[in-house]
């Protein structure tokens, strides 16, 4: 039995490592992906392209504008002179914000009257727009405070106000760098698609070239074949995980606080589910194209319902229930937990257990389906 599994393992390694195209898919493509997606996976909002429409053009208006442009958030890209331009800039997407100060702003401030400033936002991406509005709000409050202090001191009164200071401190991702949150997810998504694709081709390729028929009349048992196929691809995927993890740490300075051993263990268990799914797809496909299509049909919901980009807690209850069978959901908690929080087995077993169950179901299903396909 072990001799037969060994035969398959040796064969698979030889075939994969001999094919130069396959070698580059396995080695180069994860490197390119982690670097490319690593740069893309950034939701920090700073250096917001801003258009400025200063109709007032007084000392006061310029002072306010300085407050905006000195912050690292707003970068003045255009100075405009008409309302038509204001619309055009936003329509075109040249800027995310148009800051408009109406005539009379400086006069009103000096007279101690209410004065208005208009912030026109591109609200297409509601989250970004809300964050920008928040930044603008705090700049305005600071400005107002300055004005107040100046007015009061002009009257020769010294003002002492009780100050309530909110001290924020973020745990795990101290500088609130969004990339630190997304990169472990990017690693998970690369491993998912790579392991799925590799195994999805594994059985259907042999069906296409006709060697599967020879194997089915040999004493090779379905379970031996499945394990012989799972193991090499598992080892390859594990090596890929190691490679892109090291790259993410060195290149993007992603903190790694947990145990590498635990990460590899969690990855092994996760791979059990994705390789199982890949084999299931492979067993049920008659051509490699069909297998490839199915992989992408499987991958999209796996990714989108995993909490990779959209938090599961925000999903409607029914969809949240659906995510229970999504292996990537658990793996994301594992990678994020190990990278950023440095948590250990005491917490992660709650993720590892469901992964084991899903993996077991997937693999047994592919063995059963394989047997049924033959009959």
């Amino acid at each position: 039995m072990f001799e037969r599994i060994k035969a398959i393992i040796i064969k698979e390694f030889k075939q994969v490592l001999r094919d130069p195209r396959m070698k580059s898919v396995i080695l180069i493509s994860p490197i390119i992906q982690i670097i490319l997606f690593g740069y893309a996976a950034n939701k920090d909002i700073d250096f917001i392209p801003t258009a400025i429409y200063d109709k007032d053009n007084t000392k006061e208006s310029r002072q306010l504008l300085n407050q905006f442009t000195f912050s690292k958030y707003f970068v003045p890209k255009y100075y405009i002179n008409s309302e038509a331009e204001e619309d055009f800039m936003l329509d075109k997407g040249a800027v995310s914000v148009v800051l408009r100060i109406d005539r009379g702003f400086g006069r009103n401030i000096k007279a101690g009257n209410d004065a208005a400033v208009q912030l026109a936002l591109d609200g297409t991406d509601s989250n970004t727009a809300m964050t920008i509005a928040g930044y603008a709000d705090s700049i305005m409050s600071a400005y107002q405070y300055d004005v107040l202090i100046k007015d009061v001191s002009a009257l020769g009164i010294s003002l002492s106000m009780p100050n309530v200071d909110l001290r924020q401190r973020a745990w795990f991702n101290e500088n609130l760098i969004s990339r630190n949150y997304y990169l472990p997810g990017v690693i998970a998504s690369i491993i998912t698609i790579m392991s799925l694709l590799l195994t999805a081709m594994a059985i259907v390729r042999e069906k296409e070239i006709g060697t599967m028929e020879q194997l089915t009349v040999s004493p090779l048992r379905p379970l031996e074949l499945i394990f012989g196929k799972l193991l090499p691809f598992g080892v390859i995927a594990l090596a890929q995980t190691l490679l892109i993890t090291i790259l993410a740490i060195l290149w993007f300075h992603l903190p790694f606080r947990g145990s590498l051993l635990l990460l590899l263990l969690g990855t092994c268990v996760y791979l059990f589910t994705t390789l199982g799914a890949g084999l299931l797809i492979s067993t049920n496909s008659s051509t490699q194209q069909e297998a490839m299509m199915t992989v992408f049909l499987f991958y999209m919901p796996t990714l989108l319902l995993s909490g990779f980009a959209y938090p599961i807690a925000n999903m409607p209850q029914v969809i949240q229930w659906l995510t229970v069978v999504n292996p990537m959901r658990y793996y994301l908690v594992i990678v994020r937990g190990i990278f950023l929080k440095g948590v250990g087995m005491d917490i992660l077993w709650m993720q590892i257990l469901p992964l084991l169950i899903i993996g077991l179901v997937m693999t047994s299903m592919s063995v059963l389906m394989f047997k049924k396909r033959l009959a």
Partner: protein, 323 residues
């Protein structure tokens, strides 16, 4: 073809009893019965889609029969599929080798799959390479081998565990005549060594090489016997070969003659099947003379397997049309 000495012990290698396989409502194999003796070259003859491969697959433990029973090497084809797989060799026209592995790697792979003891492996490898005649290509990728070499290497890999019973599913389709002849030499040698060969084919010249034949059509056995029996006992009608210019223009007129059962073009000549050769020759002479044709000849010839096969199929079709 002489009988192999080992056949005299009359041991049964393969036996099927009322075997049937249905895919949905389609009957691929329709209640067939036969026995193959040890050391026999047993031919399974039929057109594409007749049920040849389905039968082989049931015997090799790939398909489970819908009904009926059978044994291969004494093992039950339903209950002991894995026992059967350990004891048979199987090769199909697809040449199941890995193109991206070298010759030696392919052999090593099948050595492990068939659990050849480690100390035996080198010897078996050398034997396989010798059988395929590819000593100079041990380390070459299999994809670089020509069709004939690949085919013999595939056979070598399929029998690396020295099985007593070997199933060959159209092993020679798509290879050149010299390679085919060469391949049949190997088959004959294996049979002489006491191995049972079960081979499917639709080449009539190959069928002549078999000790016994089964003809199968639409999943039904339509004849069984030695090639000689097929041509004499099974085929009760006579065959007349008519040689004449523009034979194709005469096909209709000849088949309208009352003594002629059927006609077919064989190359540029006509083969006419008749139950009464004398009467048919007289009728043909009459027909040709009335058309003032002298440039022709009519001879009674021995039926070829192809004649037998065509005639049996036409009988079958005629019978089933009536129903």
């Amino acid at each position: 073809m002489t009988m192999n000495p080992s056949m005299e012990n009359n041991q049964v290698a393969v036996a099927v009893n009322d075997l049937e396989k249905k895919f949905g409502t389609f009957t691929a194999v329709n209640h067939i019965n036969f026995e193959v003796k040890q050391g026999e070259i047993f031919g399974f003859l039929g057109p594409n889609g007749a049920g040849k491969s389905t039968t082989i697959r049931m015997l090799c433990g790939i398909y489970t029969p819908t009904s009926g029973s059978g044994t291969v090497g004494g093992f039950d084809i339903v209950k002991e599929q894995f026992k059967i797989k350990e004891n048979i060799g199987y090769m199909s026209q697809k040449f199941s080798l890995y193109d991206d592995l070298t010759v030696e790697e392919n052999i090593d792979f099948y050595s492990r799959i068939y659990n050849i003891p480690k100390n035996e492996r080198k010897k078996r490898k050398d034997e396989t390479i010798e059988l395929a005649g590819i000593e100079d290509f041990r380390k070459s990728l299999t994809s670089t081998l020509s069709g004939g070499w690949k085919q013999r290497l595939a056979l070598g890999c399929a029998i690396i565990h020295k099985p007593k019973i070997i199933f060959l599913d159209e092993p020679t389709s798509g290879v050149d005549p010299i390679t085919r002849a060469n391949f049949w030499d190997i088959i004959n040698k294996m049979a002489a060594a006491g191995r049972t060969i079960f081979v499917t084919t639709h080449y009539m010249d190959e069928a002549e090489n078999c000790n016994r034949l089964v003809m199968i059509y639409h999943g039904t056995m339509i004849a069984m016997g030695t090639p000689e029996e097929m041509k004499t006992k099974v085929m009760k009608s006579d065959i007349l070969e008519i040689i004449m210019p523009h034979a194709e223009n005469w096909l209709d007129k000849i088949s309208q003659l009352s003594s002629i059962k059927e006609t077919a073009l064989f190359g540029i000549n006509i083969h006419a099947v008749t139950d009464n050769a004398q009467k048919a020759i007289a009728e043909l002479n009459g027909l040709f003379q009335s058309q003032s044709l002298s440039d022709y000849s009519v001879n009674k010839i021995k039926a070829s397997l192809e004649d037998v096969f065509v005639s049996l199929i036409e009988n079958y079709d005629a019978e089933h049309k009536e129903k």
